[in-house]
Each structure stands twice: as C-alpha cells, then as structure tokens.
C-alpha cells in the first residue's frame, strides 16, 4: 500500500513517437472494454451492442451523414477548448457561448433587416462569433485584471447564458406561430447554410469547421500569434520576462476561443435546425473539452476526435432504440475515454517505478 501511494514517475528522456500516437487508441480500447460491463448490466449482448453502435455511426451513407452533422459543432467547440486549454485558460463555458452565438445569429438572421443576403450572411456569422467572444471576455478580464480563476466563472456563466436565452425565447425572440416548447423565430431561408450532400443533413458548416482547424494549425506553428499562445501556455512567467504581452495574448486567446464556440451555435441554427430551442445542444460545449483533450490539444486531432465522439452520440441513439441500452452510455464512454486518455498520455511521457 505504501509503495502504491509513493510510486514514482520518472520523465522519459524522449517520448517514443509510436507511444504518443498510440495513446488515444489505447485509451479508447480500454474504455470500450470497461464499458462493456455497463452493457451487460443493461441486459444487452455486448458485441451486438457495440456492433450496432459502430454501424449506426458509420455503417451507411445516412449514418455517416448524421455523424458528420453532429461532428460539425463538436469540431468547433473542440477547437474552442483546445485553443483555450493550450494557454492554460480553462474555458468551461463553451456551452453558454454556443447558445449565445446561436441567439445572436437568430437575432440577425431571423430579423427583418433589409440588407442583401451577401452582406447579412457574414454579418450573421460575425454576430454569433462576437457574442461568444464577448461572453468569454468577462471571465478573461476577471482573470487578467482581478486574478479570478476562470474555471468557476465560465461554468457559472453557462447557467446565466442559458437563462438569458430562455428569457429571450419567452419574449422578444419568440416564434409566436409555433406551438409547444418555446422556439425562436427562424433564420431566413436565404441565410441558411447550404446542404453539402443530398438526403442528409450535412451542411456547409462542416467545411467551415474543418477549414478553421487547418487554419488554426497553421497559425500555431507558423505565426507570431501562435508562438505567443504556445509560449504563454507553456510558461506565462517566463513569457512575461521575455517581453511577451501575456495579458493581451490571454485575452486574444479567450476571444478566439469564445468566437469558435459561438460559431458552433451559428452553425447549429443556420445549418441544422433553422431555429433556436433550449434543448438544441446536448452538452456540445462540455464534449468540446473531452474532444480537445483526446486530440492532445492539436487542431487536426480535434477533427478526428470530434468525429469519434459524434459517432458515439449518433450510434448510441440508434443502439438504445434497438437493444434497450440507455443513451447515457455515450456520455459514460466519452468521460471514461477522457480519463483513460489522461492516464495513457502520462504513461507515454513517464516511466512508473515502485520503490
């Protein structure tokens, strides 16, 4: 017991590339194994359940379409969290930023503003990104000016943002012609994101998301801003000593992160749903955190991780209807993947020694 408590971690001199690349896969494999027990508990056959999961996610043109549709906002929230976390700015508020972004998009795109579509369309997108950015600016400023830890503030603002959206949906943005649950006025048809594939819901938002992932990767590696973000994220004190404007970099990073999450909201209303409801996002903002970690905070990895998580969500839906395993299995798999990924990454970097 004593030696278990005091096992020591020795940093490996060099991390074998194979180990680093294999980490996510090992983590996922372990997760699927561990969660098999949950499937058994629900009284369903394990291999059939997993097979259904995979099939419903990737097994047909329709399935892939659904998965990619779900992946679109996840790529964006994943990027949002990856950008922020790399700077050690823990943005847990992507969910709220997503909803505010959607609200702003509806405010512009569902309004009667008499501007031509080519102007209104980018304006709508910009409004959504700005809304997300501004929401995150508050905790960011609180951190740089007042030293307030951003984890709790961004989290609490999620609740505030959702209440605000709810208030708007009950009032000024309400679609008075709709019955049932409150929903917003719809986005004007000419401002909707176009479909990419026929007979599927995949929309232009996917292209935007992937393009942004590529762009972010380039920014990280080749630009001064990317250099600043990496420096501040690695060691803010040393960055400050070198003359890098740490607070300004933090703030810009936060604005970028918020804008990406807001854009996820824009995509959901303008691309998938057409209007805003309170239950539009099943926790995409929180999933973004897991996706960012699974991807090792790498923008290109985020795309892959987002598709993986999207597949889980889509697959779990269908699987649940077929074999009676609750859909929450997807959430369990995602969270266990996150924890396993942390352990796997650590094991790749450190050797474990008992006394």
């Amino acid at each position: 017991m004593r030696s278990l408590l005091n096992l020591r971690l020795e940093a490996r001199a060099r991390v074998p590339l194979a180990m680093a690349l294999a980490s996510p896969f090992v983590a996922v494999a372990f997760t699927l194994l561990a969660c098999a027990g949950l499937i058994v508990w629900a009284g369903a056959p394990v291999s059939r359940a997993y097979a259904l999961l995979f099939e419903s996610a990737f097994g047909s043109r329709f399935a892939i379409g659904e998965t990619l549709t779900r992946a679109t906002p996840l790529i964006l929230t994943g990027l949002s969290c990856a950008v922020a976390f790399r700077a050690h700015f823990y943005n847990i508020g992507a969910e709220g930023q997503l909803y505010l972004g959607a609200l702003a998009a509806v405010a512009v795109g569902g309004s009667a503003i008499a501007l031509p579509a080519p102007i209104l369309f980018p304006l709508m997108i910009a409004a959504g990104m700005a809304a997300g950015a501004l929401l995150l600016a508050v905790p960011a400023l609180a951190k740089t000016r007042l030293g307030v830890d951003e984890v709790v503030t961004t989290l609490l603002l999620n609740f505030v943002a959702l209440l605000f959206v709810s208030m708007m949906l009950d009032g000024p943005m309400k679609d008075t012609t709709a019955m049932g649950w409150p929903q917003s006025v719809p986005i004007r048809p000419e401002l909707e994101f176009g479909k990419l594939l026929e007979r599927s819901r995949v929309h232009v938002g996917l292209i935007i998301a992937v393009a942004l992932a590529l762009a972010l990767w380039v920014v990280n590696v080749r630009t001064t801003f990317g250099y600043e973000m990496r420096a501040v994220g690695a060691n803010a004190r040393a960055a400050r000593f070198a003359g890098i404007p740490v607070d300004s970099v933090m703030l810009k990073t936060a604005l970028l992160s918020g804008a990406l999450a807001g854009l996820a909201g824009v995509g959901e209303v303008a691309g998938r749903a057409g209007y805003l409801t309170l239950d539009m996002s099943p926790g995409y903002g929180y999933s973004g955190i897991v996706i960012a970690m699974l991807a090792g905070l790498n923008p290109l990895g985020v795309v892959l991780a987002a598709v993986f998580v999207a597949g889980l969500i889509v697959g779990a839906d269908s699987m649940s209807r077929a074999v009676g395993v609750p859909t929450y299995l997807a959430d369990v798999i995602v969270s266990v993947s996150l924890l396993s990924m942390l352990v796997a990454t650590m094991l790749a970097r450190y050797r474990v020694r008992w006394s």
Binding site: R222, T224, A238
Partner: protein, 504 residues
Amino acid sequence: MPPPVLRLSGITKRFGALVANDAISLELASGEVLALLGENGAGKSTLVNILFGHYVGDAGAIEAFGEPLPPGDPASALAAGIGMVHQHFTLGDNLSVLDNVLLGTEKLWRPFSRRREARARLTEISKQFGLTVDANARIADLSVGERQRVEILKALYRGARILILDEPTAVLTPQESEALFATLKTLVADGLSIIFISHKLDEVLAVSQRIAVLRQGRLVAIRDPAASSKAELAELMVGRRVDAPVRKLTRGVSTPEVLLSVRELTAGGKLTRASFEVRRGEIFGIAGVSGNGQAQLADALCGLLPPAQGEIRIGNRSISPDPHAFVHARVGRVPEDRSSVGIIGDLAIWENAISERYREPRFARTGWLQRDAAKAQAQRIVEQFDVRCSGLDAPAKSMSGGNIQKLILGRALVDDPQIIIASQPTWGLDVGAVSYIHGELLAARERGAAIVLISEDLDELFAIADRIAVMFHGVLSEARDDWTVTQIGLAMAGGAQFAHAQPA
C-alpha cells in the same frame, strides 16, 4: 573507540544516464563534525537525501547506531535519530513556528494536540542551545537566519543525535555563519554528530574534524583539515590544478559616461530605497543576504516590476516598466531563476533564443515567423557561447543547468547590449561553468557594457566586481571598491556605517 554512529556502504544512485553517487562508503564517528566538500553537482545533496530517506539509492546500505536503516523513509530516519536542515527550508510559510515543529511528532490519530506542552519544550530547547525564536511567529515573517534556526530546532525537538546541514551558510551573512558555527560547537558538546555540506573551503577547514571530498559522484579523498590546504582541497574538488581567482578587485576600464542610473527606487514592498549609477565598462556588484529586496530590485531592473517611486534611466531617458522596453533599450537580462523564468522549457531551443526579439523585422514579417532567420540566430548563440544541446529543435528543458544558463547569457549578450543585468548568474553551477560566465561578463565589460551583478556569493563579487553596494532591509548602501570581508559582512547584517569608505 566508540563505534561509528553512522555507516554508509556502497551508496549508488543514478538519475537516468547521470551517476549522482557512485559506490560511496563513509563513516561518521560519535561527536564528530564531518564535512562533505564538493562543487555543485558533485553529489553531496543526493547522498544526504538518500541518508534521510527523500531518495532511494539504487544500491548500498545504511546503518545508524548499529541498526540497519530502512531506505526511502524519512520517518525511519527521524526515529533513528537523524535530523536534517535542508538547503531549501522545508517550512510552511503561512503556519507558525510551533506548527512546523509540532508537525509529525504526535500520533496522527490523537484527538487533540498537546500544544502547550510542545511550546514549553520548544522554549526549553531553544534556550539550551541558544537558538531564540518566537514560537507563535509566522514563518513568513521571519528572517532567513531565523528560519534556519527553526529548521535546526525541528531536528533537536525530535531528539536528533545526528544532524545533517545542507549548505547552511549559503543564505547567511558572515557573522550569522560564525553564530552557526558556535551553535554547532554547542551541539557537539551535547553529544551530537554532525555532517556539514559545503563548497566553501574556508568554512570546511575551520569547522570540521574530517573532510570527505566528493567529485562527480565519487568519494575521492578523506582529509584531516589540520594537515590540508585550500589549494589541495580545491584540486581534489575539481580534479585538476586550480589557479588563483580570475581577477583581483581593480579599477578596470571604466570611463565617466553613465549608462544606467537608478534614483530613489522603491518597488514591490520590499525594496525601500536604491540609488546608484553604473558607468560604461564597469561591473557594479550588489551584495546581501536573500530576502532584503534584491529580488525586487532585479525585477525592477528587468522591467518586470513597476516602481512605486523613483525611476530608472537608461542613458538620459526614463524607461517604462515593461520587459519589452528594456529589451528594446539594449538591456541584456539574466534572471535569477533560469529554468522557470529564463527559458520556456517546453519550447525548442531556437524558439527560446528569439523569445525576446521575435517581433523584430528580421524574425517576423506580417505576423509570420521567419524560422530560418530565427534558427540562424540560435545557431550563432549556441556556437558563440558553447551551449551543449542535442539540436536546436530539442526542448530547452532537456539541457543541463549550466547550458541553460549559457543559452540565457548568450541570448542576453549576442546582440552586444549596452547594459547587462545579471541576478545570481552562477548559482548552482560547477566551477567550469562559473569560470566561463565570469569570463563572458568580463569580456562584455571590456567592450564597454555597464553591468549590474546581483549575487549572494561574496567570492564572486570580490572576484569580478569593480564596486560593490550592499542591500539590507530594502535599502542599498553606498558603493565602495575597498571592502574587507568583515566590513561587508557587517553591512549585510545591518551595519550601514560600514558602507562609507574608511580613511586610509
């Protein structure tokens, strides 16, 4: 002859490829003061950390008072009567002296702490050994010397019969060091046996009965101080003949032009008043025990700390408290904490080489990093300043401390700065690296730079500084070029009158 109180046999410890201790066997006799001498990196701290149980040796055994000592367990070491005064004090700053002493001395599951009895016992012990300290004081409010006393009291409170002191005089004034040696004599008279680690030859010769010399992890010699000389010990420590110190205190090549002037500077709460001028081609030394405001002065001189009052002028112009402004004004800065402030460990060596200048046109155009130019600059630094690394793309933290410091020094010096601020630049480095850095600073001085050298190492200051001023309680004394060690020691302990030049 009473049996040895401590016997180490074949202690070996490896950190990766580095052999920190190589089959060291040593005995400590009852009532003796044994000095462990060696330069930085020789393995002295590693050895005593294994003895006390912070590390586990890869091979070897320890016997204390005839009983085998279970490895890797400070609780066992404490139970066997071994106490340790660590180089970096193991004290909780926000807790009281009594809390720190009491910790771990009562069974963990007792429903209440016997604080009154503990306080009484602590007072008794501190009187017995002349180590006065207020049991209710918060550690953060104590001076460095007082904190060391608490470290010692912790060990005595637990009935230590063997006391290890790891570089205890590194943070003391010369007078406080004398007081410590007197305390050690009292402890020995009470029957304790002492292991005293140092790299300072004078102390070791004055205080110990035997000197064990470590070099590169091996025990190379055991000497009787009465029969040994500084030259012999220095040669054993380094492994080759060591000549007299690099340079004597001279008037140097300074000209009247003032490059850096500091007026009535107050900053960071701890720096109360500093005024001085540094001329072209001069090394201006600032001495003082840690905690008297030097860190704040260093931060202000690097642009990290805005002054509450006063100003810093470079040439004729006041400079704004921003690191970038200082870099732009051609100030080369070497910070005290090389691995957490001087470099960004996770970034590549070439990325660290341009960290102060990445926005300059030669390294960045319209927001795009010019990698080739940056790597060329890094290559220049690596070659010119003898930085040993496994490639420019390797993470900076993969280098040894000495090479990290050479990279930082190179980055500061490569573009020929007019002012250099160096804070504890040779702390923790081996003789070779120290000598190299001193050489570079002297060369910069020849080229006409104005250099501020803040150091707790008096030997270093006497070796290369032209003038020295002393920091005490936030106030900087006048600068003199004719200090004696006694005078400077007294100034470091608060005797400001010694800051004035003595009549011939």
